[in-house]
Symmetry: C2
Subunit: 408 residues, 2 copies
Amino acid sequence: MSIEFIDNSPGLSDVPGFRVGASACDIRNKANGRLDLALVVADQPCAAAGVFTTNDVKAAPVRLCQRLLASGGSVRGIVGNSGNANACTSVQGDADAAETARLAAAALGAPSDVFLVCSTGRIGELLPMAKVAAGVAEAAGRLSRVSAEGRRAAEAILTSDTRPKTCTARFVQGGRTVTVSGIAKGAGMIEPNMATMLAFVCTDAEAAPAFLKEALRTASDDSFNCVSVDGDMSTNDTVLLLASGASGVKVGPEGNPAATALFREALGRVCFALAEKIVGDGEKITKVVSVEVEGARSRADAEKIARAIGNSLLVKSSWFGEDPNWGRLADAAGYARTGLDEAKLDIHYGDVPAVLAGRPLPENKPSWKEVVKAARFTVRIGLGLGDARFRLLASDLTDGYVNYNKSE
Amino acid sequence: MSIEFIDNSPGLSDVPGFRVGASACDIRNKANGRLDLALVVADQPCAAAGVFTTNDVKAAPVRLCQRLLASGGSVRGIVGNSGNANACTSVQGDADAAETARLAAAALGAPSDVFLVCSTGRIGELLPMAKVAAGVAEAAGRLSRVSAEGRRAAEAILTSDTRPKTCTARFVQGGRTVTVSGIAKGAGMIEPNMATMLAFVCTDAEAAPAFLKEALRTASDDSFNCVSVDGDMSTNDTVLLLASGASGVKVGPEGNPAATALFREALGRVCFALAEKIVGDGEKITKVVSVEVEGARSRADAEKIARAIGNSLLVKSSWFGEDPNWGRLADAAGYARTGLDEAKLDIHYGDVPAVLAGRPLPENKPSWKEVVKAARFTVRIGLGLGDARFRLLASDLTDGYVNYNKSE
């Protein structure tokens, strides 16, 4: 009755009812043989749901996915590419996204089937469609449930990531095994409500699109929406969830309640692990800091403060320098303007108090200086105003980030 | 009938009715002889107004100033120090700010007089009051209208600034000359609604506190509140305006309308010039970029987009790299979430269009690449939705900034 969790699994090839394939079609025009196109195909049309960027500027593939899922939520699979975001590409971008979906369906000999499309990479350039066509054909020819192909698919969607991001969760219900598996890419433009991050999650549970949508929204709020690398939200952020039903275990309002609870837990574990991997592999970061705000009047207030801290250039620079400058934390907490009371403010590094009820405790400095030397540590902000809390996983800001992003 | 503007003037010593003095009292405890305390004294109690940080966490001197000005707006002068912000210093901080004001009044032999206090520097440490007492006494002994002393006062309030920031505007009305002069410090934590920035503006116009407050608020909205270096708003931001009345020219509702209009113009010029100097001297910056958003439904929408762009790490890094990556501008404009219409979006670098009505114009890239090579340039975002606009002066983000702020 518990979840088995496999970190760094082969990814989507773990899930019965799906096959995956990847190809190198040189979308970056660098002739370096890098994998850049992934195809995920259900054995038959299946239920699907998505969560998308809330940016006013949405890439063409995001618009395509939103349109398709609004009209019912049954799809055949996903085509994902790296190297080009197909964003800010006007009407030609929409045509290219639609053509990519059509190519995938045609390659399977099922021209009426519906494919979701996801792109990530540079904004404002047209997709090289002849290359995409060749890539889709090659990936379709490789479709399988072989672990090596699952790993290739996880690699194909990466951009400035330094490593693939995969995991799998399984549970047994009534003698049947249910699998939830995901792959993701992150690195730059990571922030609120997702950034240039893509995550594809597949399961063999059986579920209606409406339940998948609600479950994915909940899991995303507690995972992808609680990480920040640079505060930039992208035009392409997408999390997709596809359910093949191949396990024969039904989840959701019409399913078994125990199975449904285990499914939610498995989905939550997979999404959180992928989100952690995204922030841990942020561009040129050296620290992952868990910013935990508690004692707030509302979760919204706690979130505002956590994001103000996690996105402050001065705070992030001081984390890079391992300088436990709590004054910058207090300053950022204050400019979130939630109405905090300085006389009730507690600040801890790990378990070491730096400020209690507004009073600095400089005598503890040697202890908290030790805390910030770790690659992962926690800062805790206590507001003393209520019971609400929010946790944000944030990274430091390094000279390496700036130099890496000087040009693209 | 026009304004004479003197850039890099001696500063507050230019204004009849005021004397200034500065001292080096080693608040930083570095024994380096650096000027760190400035005293501005009116010949007699005068009208005053202030605009302050909206951070929930306000430094003790900010609380003191707000309390004093709320109770009438007549003061004798200002004590300003650098090296210590007297922020997050609990009740002892309030006592120290009050004691600083008392010391200044006592040094003038007028113990009932009211002094405003401003501090800037590191957060969370107590002011070294014995040193402050010595510094106030020394500065009081030097009070004069000598230009060299004005320049010393402008220097004494600096922190990581690389140069003093001063200017003076004058106009003649009915044969009488009116002077408006200001000094400022900026550098780090510069953003919305002011950051660790201090600005002291003095005039010999005659005006009631209520008018000064309204005029200063208007001038600040169009100057100090339109610059951004790092998006961090400090606990100490303060702009003060003192009016000695020594010119005999009355401005405001009871004053001469022509003189009042000239006064507003002079005040606006002084505030804008100081704000420009602040962003131009941001920590380790190499570019000053004027982000001009137009065609918005409201000024608030235009401001949201300008700030999203001006505070985006990816945008700022690309400015540093002289990489005219307009995709990052579009992305940031979109995540301001004002409801922009991508199909109406125009983006210009200087006068060169990069995107018109949502269509990229890659053929213009050689021209816009030239634009971003300059130390100062403009990016213009046209929304095509209305008539409102907002202009933000922003800086780039450099590896130097990160390394400078790694520790303090």
